[in-house]
């Protein structure tokens, strides 16, 4: 069975198009100033064109200064972001399917998801730390000595960091996916059921294709967010190797004035990886059935 393509919207032309463009202009120009200004300043600083002290000189020193630890930092950041995004996507998708099922369980999951989204990441990180640390709430409740508890906080596998991101972001994914499903899922689902599709068949051929664009977009947001977020990795992570944002902020806050270009260089690298991830996600999005 194949999905009927959505009716394509006719391109808007003429006066209405211009008016539409004018209406979004304030928002676009504001976003451009922030985006171009912020990223541009980071690029200029990283190239030595906006120094705090010393001469203005074009150089790539800031990029090579951290070359020994940068690959490891990139690997750790990508690992954390990939693991968090993967778990959040799977858990979020499952939660979204439960939410749109319309049963009472769905309402509970929706309420939990909505409550989770409102918790700031910093508070979430502190809560996870209190829960999972060696002398935290969980080992105390279970009566396990600090020595016998696995190294979740600050351990080699970044478990607490990934747990925090997965928990918070799966709620985000669930709400976004459930939101797009809610409007049209019942019609397609019932039609498929009437045509004799079983539960698994409906999941495979109706639900997941309907979810996919929203899932890809929300997962991309999660990936880019976790890649660039600082506080959770700093609070629950370990000293070495450092994720990219932790490294960037340490260098930015360094008492060495010349470290600021290095911080900007790390930020530019992070941004470049994020943009590449977004580019890949859009390529993937164009291949989904719903987009076509």
């Amino acid at each position: 069975m194949s999905l009927a393509p959505l009716p394509t919207r006719a391109p808007v032309s003429g006066r209405r198009g211009i008016i539409g463009a004018m209406l979004v202009l304030p928002a676009v120009s504001l976003a451009l100033v922030v985006l171009v200004g912020g990223i541009g300043a980071a690029v200029l600083q990283s190239l030595g064109l906006m120094p705090l002290v010393g001469p203005v000189r074009l150089s790539f020193d800031a990029y090579s200064a951290q070359s020994s630890s940068l690959p490891e930092s990139i690997a750790v950041s990508l690992g954390i972001a990939t693991a968090s995004t993967g778990i959040a996507a799977v858990v979020g998708l499952a939660a979204a399917l439960v939410i749109v099922s319309g049963r009472w369980g769905g309402r509970i999951v929706a309420a939990i998801g909505a409550a989770t989204v409102t918790v700031p990441h910093l508070v979430g990180a502190a809560a996870i730390g209190l829960l999972l640390a060696d002398s935290g709430l969980l080992p105390r409740l279970l009566g396990i000595e600090p020595g016998g508890w696995p190294r979740l906080v600050g351990g080699p596998w970044w478990v607490a960091v990934i747990a925090e991101y997965s928990w918070k972001e799966s709620a985000f994914v669930a709400l976004v996916v459930a939101g797009t499903l809610a409007t049209r899922v019942a019609r397609y689902d019932e039609t498929a059921a009437l045509l004799g599709a079983g539960r698994l068949g409906r999941l495979r051929f109706v639900m997941i294709p309907l979810c996919l664009p929203a899932l890809v977009v929300s997962s991309t947001i999660v990936f880019v967010y976790t890649l660039g977020s600082y506080e959770v990795a700093w609070l629950l992570g370990r000293t070495y190797p450092e994720p990219l944002p932790v490294m960037a902020l340490r260098l930015f806050d360094s008492i060495t004035l010349t470290a600021r270009p290095e911080a900007a260089a790390v930020a530019v690298v992070t941004t470049a990886i994020s943009l590449a991830a977004v580019g890949l996600a859009f390529l993937a999005l164009r291949r989904t059935a719903m987009w076509r």
Partner: protein, 435 residues
Amino acid sequence: MNRSNTTFTAEEYPALRSDHPCPRRRPGVAIAVAAATAMLALAGCSAPSPEAATSGFDSWDDVVDEAQGQTVQLWMYGGDEQGNAYVDDVLAPAVAEQGVTLERVPVSDTADALNRVLTELQAGRTDDGTVDLIWVNGANFSTGKQAGAWLCDWTGLLPNMEKTAADDPLLSDDFGTPVDGCEVPWHKAQFTLAYNADVVTDPPTTLQGVLDWARANPGRFTYPAPPDFTGSVFVREVLSSVSGGSDAVPLAYDDESFDELTPALYAELADLAPSLWREGDTYPASGDELNQLYADGQVDMTMTYGPATLTDLVATGVYPAGTRILTLDEGTVGNASFLGLPSNSESAAGAMVVANTTLSVEQQVAKADPEAWGQFTVLDYDTLTADEQRLFDALPESAVVPSYDVLSRSANPELSAEWVPPLDDGWRTDVLGAQ
């Protein structure tokens, strides 16, 4: 690695001189810069003028007149409950009586406050900055001084400066950087180790003894990862210990001494790592995290620059009742901390009134009370009147923390601020990266 890369002088870099409001740009990069004109307009001049700004006041009366109605933002480390309470409940009302409103802005790291000033200067905000006072010392002070972030030659205006000893080396030099009237002393501090006497029955008496104790008791000792302030000073203490005493390390930084002395330091710390908490696999990210480990009983020693706070922490049950100060035979480093006035402060006069108030006998006594904050005074006890001395004598004694006289016995001077970044960087590569 370029180790002494923090040192810039106007001689080396003409662009640093203040007669260039914006640094000159090379023609080769002109196109790149022109392409970003809109952004540069946002950012203003690239580099702030490192020439120290001066106050421009002739007399103290002018300052007091100008200060009326001003609001002063004091940016300070916010992780110390007692310090916060002292500023909010004791200092702020005292300056309010003089017509100045004091607002405390908590920061997690003093570098955040300095960064705010540098960013404002970089953006061309040279006279309406949001930071009016910063609790500062050491490398943050010297970095700010290099970048021209401090107002200088203003401390002589303060009437209460006479109560401090002009020849006190702790007050005339800040980690080897001459103070030059760019900051006002606030209190003195002594780096101190503390231990749980219920567990450590035979405490070591030297720093080498502490390291040996750590090896004999695996997993019961650790230190915060530099560049955390406390972790950084611990590394400097170990440096003087492995070098054969604090006299063996020259206070002024030079590459030769660094190359000669630090291999032994990093070898010692890398060798110690497997005996530390979590086998040295990771370190507490801050002094607070180490204190938390100590409070939870995961380690048996902690360290602090503010030993006076220990009394209260034991009294409230946060720390074990057996907590005692570990005095070392060779002494530990002592320093003073200061209040710096950013050169772009909008309320400079108000900030001076606040700084002068902090140096009054009443405020220094109130601050020295262990139940309030317990910070050691910067005033010169001998020059005070008999009545004023009695106020200090009447302060309660602590069972946990000995008096400043005992703590600061054989106190060692801080290494110059130029030592700090290369030592911290070396620790990252040679100790952390060596695992």
